[in-house]
């Protein structure tokens, strides 16, 4: 039976990060759950050096629109960060404020958003909203650069309410209009034409002359409202804290319905969403305080394997487990395309709605990609994480197929699989009889069999749950 402290720590690290190698789990479990939560919320390790990627892969500095290359830097960070929750929150906000290079046409600008999420993602949500309202990629993505005093464009105004703060059903079409009016003049400079392979950087600019400073009435508040007033009013709405809370629940706890269905589908766990929403209100939208409450809640601790991993979690989590991706070796561009092959093209979500999550991650093509990509990694006995697993199995002296299967499931998670799956894995392993670790030849033969078992384990349905 798996060590319960270790299993809980593995759960926390899968959710608050992208999993951790066994030695790290053991060290964290020794420090304790609460200390680990605090360390995740207030990381002491330094951030990664953004110049490192540039040194080895200069094209990541200005990737233009080269597919796969723009996300290489981020993938490297996701794998190697020593501040896992910060990076996980960057992914969280990227899935909420879904902005894509398909339209922005400039990886740098979308990557700049990730850097903002990293810096502000665990702070005050209201500040983050203001930051997004001024973000050049966002402004272009949702056409706020075409939102003029004389000709209102409602794209940003609508999505701010529908997807970024309150959710459908909590405002009227008049509110959308008034909200959009308040954001007239929030635009970008310079608007240089495209260069041959990409365009130039943009910067936020507030143009007084293009701002509609007439009286507006938004959600019952009347006045000469500007964009920051709108965000203040939005954040005073109970709907907003509930909406953000539900996003947190969906991302960190268990799969919810897709976002567009939230107005008509009650939350899976209304009490959990209430608690998170109340914490947001009580803490003045401090994400750090809210996450602390979330990670300490029973509904979180009991939600082990209650969500399907996103492609980013599959790719990054498996790479962290097997190790060997610490140096940005050639091939990082190809590696950064892998989540896309599984349906999550990082920095390029399919629309402002973001990715559909849960079972919608899975189709026959993406499932095959998940299985094949992860099986190839765990089948590579030269990877440090796999060597470590073999050493530990050998040290434990596991001999029967059941012991080996249980040992592997434990060292890979601990992973929970249902009893039928466990029996299947044992059945597969029984073919070669008991394992021996007494001579070099025996170790090699045993390792080869374990290697195949690991490939079958990552191919199970259960491996797709986090």
């Amino acid at each position: 039976m798996a060590n319960p402290d270790l299993a809980l720590m593995a759960h926390l690290m899968r959710r608050a990060g992208f999993g951790a190698p066994r030695a790290e789990l053991e060290a964290r479990a020794a420090k304790g759950y609460e200390a680990t939560v605090e360390d995740l919320l207030n990381p002491q390790e330094p951030p990664l050096d953004r110049n490192e990627m540039m040194r080895y892969h200069p094209w990541t500095w200005r990737p233009g629109t080269l597919p796969g290359m723009g996300a290489a830097e981020w993938l490297h960070d996701l794998i190697n960060t020593k501040r896992p929750l910060e990076e996980k929150m960057a992914l969280f906000w990227h899935q909420v404020f879904a902005t894509g290079v398909s339209k922005v046409d400039h990886y740098d600008d979308v990557m700049d958003m990730i850097v903002k999420f990293r810096e502000k993602g665990m702070g005050d949500y209201r500040e983050l909203l203001i930051e997004m309202a001024k973000d050049p990629a966002m402004i272009y993505w949702l056409d706020n650069c075409d939102n003029h005093a004389t000709a209102v464009n409602e794209n940003w105004g609508r999505e701010l309410l529908e997807l970024f703060s309150m959710g459908v059903g909590n405002y009227t079409e008049v509110d959308v209009r008034e909200c959009s009016r308040a954001f007239t003049g929030w635009t970008i400079i310079p608007k240089l034409p495209r260069g041959p392979i990409g365009r130039h950087d943009w910067f936020f600019e507030y143009r007084e002359a293009d701002h509609d400073d007439g009286e507006k009435t938004f959600l019952g508040v009347t006045g000469n409202l500007n964009g920051d007033d709108i965000i203040r009013i939005i954040c005073a709405q109970p709907a907003t804290s509930r909406f953000v809370a539900r996003h947190l629940y969906n991302f960190f706890v268990a799969d919810e319905a897709q976002v567009p269905a939230w107005s008509v589908t009650p939350p899976k766990d209304p009490e959990a969403v209430d608690l998170l929403a109340q914490t947001l209100v009580d803490s003045d939208y401090d994400m750090r305080s809210t996450l602390r409450v979330l990670f300490h809640a029973d509904f979180f601790k009991n939600a082990r394997f209650a969500r399907l991993k996103s492609p980013a979690e599959v790719v990054v989590g498996t790479l962290r487990f097997v190790g060997g991706a610490e140096f940005p070796a050639p091939g990082i561009g190809n590696l950064s395309r892998q989540p896309g092959y599984m349906g999550q093209d990082l920095l390029n979500p399919p629309s402002v709605e973001g990715w559909h999550t849960g079972t919608e991650w899975i189709n026959s093509g993406s499932l095959m990609q998940r299985v094949n990509f992860t099986a190839e990694l765990v089948g590579d006995v030269n990877r440090p994480g796999i060597q470590d697993l073999m050493d530990r199995l050998q040290a434990q002296g596991v001999r029967t197929p059941a012991e080996v299967v249980d040992g592997c499931l434990d060292l890979m998670g601990p992973l929970d699989v249902n009893e039928r799956s466990r029996e299947g894995l044992i059945g597969f392993t029984e073919d070669g009889g008991d394992f021996s670790w007494d001579s070099a030849d025996q170790v090699e033969a045993s390792a080869a069999r374990v290697s195949e078992l690991l490939q079958l384990i990552v191919a199970t349905r259960e491996y797709n749950f986090a």
């Binding site: 629109t65 398909s102 339209k103 597969f428």
Partner: protein, 376 residues
């Protein structure tokens, strides 16, 4: 699965990166072509003339043979209003038929749903490439996604075939539906078994295949050969999709564009020869398109992103010839320096969907667009 009558089959070859229209179907007698292409223009004596106005790039010899057989429709000036000149956005527009908003449903995903509403065949549509093209994406519609037909399926890394067969047997065992595991596990079960079934069927295709056609050793030839194998295996596949590229010839266009068209022309020629040898070409057409044409005036060594482009529809059932018109290259008629499309790509799709696939195009492409008569 094999049907006695021959259902219409559509093969799509996407020329990714923006193929240069003006150097593909060259207006070689138009002085404006010479004026605009001082660096990358093809000398008149190298052009393969189709008529007194246009001719093929010199690397497209085999395409000329197909054209002369009457098996190729050239559709001039294809595109849509307000070309965004961005690869991603333009390709999205082609894939989703949504020029104004961001669409997520692929036009051929919708077509697949209409062809096989009950999902009877996991191989109705087969995509060749590492990831699903957005043109084929539609939630709940299974599309087989093949990167390498010779090595296709789950766990290709296990090279010892007996061992792989054994592990896949256990995979099926692990994915067997079980009572009481819940809807998500059930869904994963079904998807896993569909994946396995598709792979099991598809891996037979190369074994069943026998041909005298020698495809060249190029990536596009490998894909088209794989598509021929799937078609000839009679799995009931109706849509096959692949791409080749990159056609993004900003610099050193001359060598790059020649190599691209040498490879594409040779591979396409082999593909149709292969079908003919097996008497299996009379129910297949191929669409070749690109996301946009390139800038009219060259940039000194290549060409930048443009608007209007050229598409090709090939195959025995096609009424060969040239359709639509070559857009004007007069300076006053250009938009941002680009030739302006005069045939909406959704008309191209509508022609294929209705006159070939016998589907209702309107809900798939989102409206009614002008069709042309190259499919009878």
């Amino acid at each position: 699965m094999a049907s006695t009558h021959k259902d219409p089959v559509l093969v799509v070859l996407q020329l990714t990166g923006g193929n240069d229209y003006l150097n593909t179907v060259i207006p070689y007698t138009n002085p404006l072509y010479r004026d605009n292409r001082p660096a990358v223009g093809i000398p008149e004596d190298q052009v393969i003339p189709l008529d007194d106005h246009v001719g093929f790039h010199p690397a497209m010899g085999p395409m000329k043979t197909i054209y002369d057989r009457g098996d190729m429709a050239i559709i001039h000036g294809v595109g849509y209003p307000k070309s965004p000149r961005s690869h991603f956005r333009s390709m999205d527009i082609w894939h989703t038929c949504e020029p104004d908003t961001l669409g997520t449903e692929g036009w051929l995903g919708r077509a697949t749903r209409d062809i096989d509403p009950n999902k009877d065949n996991v191989l109705t549509t087969v995509s060749f490439g590492p990831a699903l093209f957005r043109a084929l994406a539609l939630p709940g519609v299974p599309v087989a996604c093949v990167d390498d037909l010779d090595n296709y399926g789950l766990l290709p890394g296990i090279s010892e075939q007996k061992q792989r067969a054994r592990i896949l047997e256990w995979f099926a065992h692990l994915y067997a539906p079980a009572v009481g595991t819940g809807p998500v596990m059930d869904y994963l079960s079904q998807t896993g078994l569909d994946t396995l079934e598709g792979a099991d069927i598809l891996k037979e295709a190369p074994k069943m295949y026998n041909s005298t056609v020698a495809y060249p050793d190029t990536p596009i030839a490998k894909k088209l050969k794989g598509m021929a194998q799937v078609h000839l295996a009679n799995f009931g596949t109706r849509i096959l999709y692949c791409d080749h590229g990159s056609f993004d010839s900003h610099s050193n266009q001359a060598g790059m564009h020649s190599k691209l068209w040498t490879d594409v022309s040779a591979a396409v020629d082999c593909f149709f020869d292969d079908l003919k040898e097996h008497d299996a070409g009379d129910n297949v057409i191929m669409l070749m398109f690109t996301e946009f044409g390139r800038r009219t005036h060259d940039n000194g060594s290549g060409t930048d992103h443009g608007a209007g482009g050229v598409a090709f529809v090939l195959g025995e059932p096609v009424v060969g010839g040239q359709y639509s018109e070559f857009p004007s290259m007069k300076a006053a008629d250009l938009e941002q320096g680009d030739v302006v499309p005069n045939h909406d790509f959704r008309g191209l799709y509508s022609t294929i969907l209705e006159d070939w696939m016998k589907l209702d195009a309107k809900p798939i492409v989102g409206g009614t667009f002008e069709k042309l008569a190259y499919l009878g």
